[in-house]
Amino acid sequence: MSEQTLTNKESLALITEMIGQAKRNYQKGGSFHFLLWGWVVMLANLGHYYLEGFTDYAHPYLVWVITFPAGIISALYGARQSKRATVVSHLDRLYGQVWIAAGVGIVITLIFMRNLSFNHGAMILLFASMGTYLSGQMLRFKPLILGGLALAAAAVVCFNASVTDQYLVSAIGIFLGYIIPGYLLKTKENG
């Protein structure tokens, strides 16, 4: 592109073309986080459900330590992705902010889970549902939108289940809301 002045129509055409160029760029790699957290949280939920419901083990909550390395991996992957990206779209920024907001909600709920008599599963599912639904709308990707709705449905079931059964319901919710849409998103990213 050279340094030259334009006719008015050329100006408008150029503006339209450049805005179109920018629109086609959004960061890939969203599926990684859905799959990582999907598998980790689903397995932790199933582990907790099994240990609490079918064994005499006194500390079933210890299975949740697997979320710590997952957090580190997730943060490192995110940092590497943003290092590689040569452009940050408005949507990329918003996408990150949605998950920060959902994450803050989840962490606060976990801190006060005793106050909820450990009926926190439904709350966590609701935060995950909002994040997944909004991600789906931002990426215009229907499986994530449906995943968000599946997580909301799981939250409704959780509100009516015993504390132990909530772990099983959460595992199913995460499978439907994170893992299935996560693999479909991965296929789309690679396609």
Partner: protein, 95 residues
Amino acid sequence: MDDFKPLDPLLHSQLRLAVMSLLLSVESAEFTFIKEKTRATAGNLSVQLDKLSSAGYIQVEKAFKGKKPVTTCQITKWGVEAFETYVNALKGYIE
């Protein structure tokens, strides 16, 4: 003749207008991305970015990604206003 406002000469040039349109559409973009999308030469793009930066239309930040120097550009509030004024003036000519 309210419709015919003068066009900002800083924006009424091919490469600078391309850069501004691109930066308007994103949060921030690196030099390499702008160069690729505008198909400009590095030298020419540098000069035009300097002009836009001097006018306060864009903010240019130089940093390091590891050992690699990286230039990141972002449109300013003043730049957005200038761009809107330019587009409105342009509409006046075309309508």
